[in-house]
């Protein structure tokens, strides 16, 4: 008898090799290139970059706005996924298809449209007593728009998979609707919700196209990190630009790692 247990589906070596090659070409090599390029910066330059008020402010703004947008989409996306899975109503297919629109639309188009609508004299902006476009709120709005599909699309299949009987069983056992949500639906949905949240957050941090139009790009007010990178590039400060890129990458990596660990905690233990 052979001691090596071979899996039923062959090709583990081939697929793993392909995976690693692909990942290296598309993700690892460009990122490594960025790291190497940023090595041109001296320790003092690094320190200057990290402690620069402009970078620190943009860092805070970018991650803050992305976090806010991801949280808001976490709530709105849950409601949207719930309605799309649980109820039948006319036009459901169309609404379902529209959820993906923010992905298909060029982000610049979205940015321009949102700016036109939410500018102080715009159709919607004029209804509010405070400014939306050209403020951090406008940035968050653009991010909410572009990251909308993530939470909806990750929750939909999980929600659809929860059998109706599970809720009926709980109700027969005396559980109130909020208890059914708290003790049955939430634990089942949480891992997928965190995935959707993490995707939306990561996308929000890196978003550029839609934000530049609505942000107004005022330093210390509405200047996001990707924009800072582009302006460094415009000034031929390539090392500085990659430096900021590395900082963004490091912070994102730590945050996503934390989210992943959190998710593992909530994964059903089997």
């Amino acid at each position: 008898m052979s001691r090596r247990t071979s899996p039923v589906i062959p090709g583990f070596g081939l697929t793993l090799g392909y995976t690693i090659t692909y990942l290296a070409l598309i993700v690892l090599i460009p990122l490594a290139g960025m790291l190497i390029y940023s090595m041109q910066l001296s320790a003092a330059q690094w320190w200057g970059l990290i402690t620069s008020r402009q970078v620190l402010f943009s860092l805070q703004l970018s991650f803050g706005a992305a976090l806010f947008a991801a949280l808001l989409n976490g709530i709105l996306g849950t409601v949207l996924a719930w309605v799309l899975v649980r109820y039948e109503f006319p036009g459901k297919r169309i609404i379902d298809a529209m959820v993906d629109m923010p992905f298909a639309l060029p982000t610049a188009v979205a940015g321009i449209a949102l700016t036109a609508l939410y500018a102080p004299n715009g159709l919607i902006g004029s209804l509010f007593p405070f400014k939306i476009a050209y403020t951090p709120l406008g940035i968050a709005l653009a991010l909410v728009f572009v990251t909308l599909p993530f939470v909806v699309r990750t929750l939909q299949p999980v929600l659809a998979d929860i059998p109706k009987e599970v809720e009926e069983a709980a109700t027969c056992l005396g559980a109130r609707p909020w208890q059914v949500f708290r003790y049955l639906l939430l634990p089942t949905l949480l891992p997928a919700w965190i995935t959707g949240f993490a995707l939306a957050f990561a996308r929000g941090v890196g978003e550029y196209g839609s934000v530049v139009f609505i942000a107004g790009n005022i330093p210390f007010k509405t200047e996001i990190l990707p924009l800072l990178i582009v302006s460094k590039l415009d000034q031929y400060d390539y090392a500085g630009a990659t430096g900021i890129g590395v900082i963004m990458l490091a912070v994102s990596f730590i945050l996503l790692l934390l989210i992943n660990l959190l998710q593992r905690r909530f994964q059903p233990k089997i």
Partner: protein, 322 residues
């Protein structure tokens, strides 16, 4: 606690699922709702539970009209065909769920809950699985856990929807005997839905035979088998042969209600042997008679004299015992 079902009608769109259903179930009784799929038996069970609301009619528990009561307030235990266990909870937490969901002032302490859960797990003989997750259990074990979970809140009525439908033949046999014994111990008014007449006959005190949204007959297993109220009931409760001689009204008889002989005897009819199957204690002989396309199935003890050396193609003589 007795159950009174009064004039229940239920429609799903164009489909009339239940028509004028009236049914009285006595306290402590174990009743089977038996019928083919789509006959409305599950709808009736769900209406009794309050998971579905009838278009007209009312449900009365022990003299109290509960028609407008919410599922939660009816205090029924419901067991689902596919168990509906909570996958992310251990067996213990599943059984404890109902007790933990009670409003604070009615909720027992965790210590009392633990005692109660272990008592129930012992009742279903699965206390050793308390820390497992549902996915680690076999189908039969899952269904027993589902039953323990339903019993935890001390329901006054137990409703089971095809409780053994998803299990394999041997396990379902064991489990239904076990359910009948359990019912003898706890004496909870119980209603279970099944499409398996053997299951209904073996477990139930009374059988409600349903077809196309109406009740065909209500009676003890012996009554519905021996004195079927309609041809449907007759056919549904066991295999049946239809046999007519020379265009006369056909007679109905069950495969075992037959005498066989190798030689032509007055009153016996000739049939060509098409198939011989040993089914355990009995042997089934399929016969083809002159002037009838429908084959006749007969079952006799496997050591019956007429079977000795019998081969396909030979002629056998039979007489329905009716």
């Amino acid at each position: 606690m007795s159950i009174e079902v009064q004039n229940i009608n239920k429609r799903f769109g164009q489909f009339q699922a239940l028509k004028e259903i009236n049914l009285h179930i006595q306290s402590g009784e174990l009743v089977a709702l038996l019928g083919p799929s789509g006959c409305g038996k599950t709808s009736l069970l769900r209406i009794i539970a309050g998971l579905e609301s009838p278009d007209t009619g009312s449900i009365v528990f022990h003299g109290e009209d509960v028609s407008t009561h919410d599922v939660r307030d009816r205090n029924v235990g419901f067991v689902f065909q596919h168990y509906a266990l909570f996958r992310h909870m251990t067996v213990f937490d599943n059984v404890a769920f109902g007790l933990r969901m009670k409003p604070r002032r009615e909720r027992p302490s965790e210590k009392v809950i633990a005692e109660k859960v272990h008592e129930l797990l012992n009742l279903v003989q699965l206390d050793w699985l308390a820390d497992r997750y549902p996915e680690q259990l076999s189908g039969g074990q899952r269904q027993r856990i589902a039953l323990a979970r339903a019993l935890a809140v001390e329901p006054k009525i137990l409703l089971l929807d095809e409780p053994f439908g998803a299990l394999d033949a041997k396990v379902r046999k064991e489990l239904r005997r076990w359910l009948a014994r359990l019912h003898d111990e706890v004496h909870l008014t119980s209603v279970f839905v099944t499409h398996d007449q053997e299951e209904a006959m073996e477990v139930a005190d009374r059988i409600v035979v349903m077809n196309k949204g109406v009740i065909e007959q209500i009676g003890t297993p012996a009554e519905v088998y021996e004195q079927p109220a309609s041809e449907f009931v007759y056919h549904f409760l066991g295999d049946a042969n239809k046999f007519s001689v020379d265009g006369a009204d056909p007679v109905l008889f069950r495969p075992h209600e037959v005498d066989l002989d190798r030689v032509s005897t007055p009153g016996y009819h000739a049939g060509e042997v098409k198939d011989i199957r040993l089914l355990g204690a009995v042997t089934r002989v399929t016969l083809k008679t002159e002037g009838q396309d429908e084959l006749i199935e007969t079952e006799v003890a496997k050591d019956h004299a007429s079977l000795a050396g019998l081969r396909k193609g030979e002629t056998l003589y039979f007489r329905p015992r009716v």
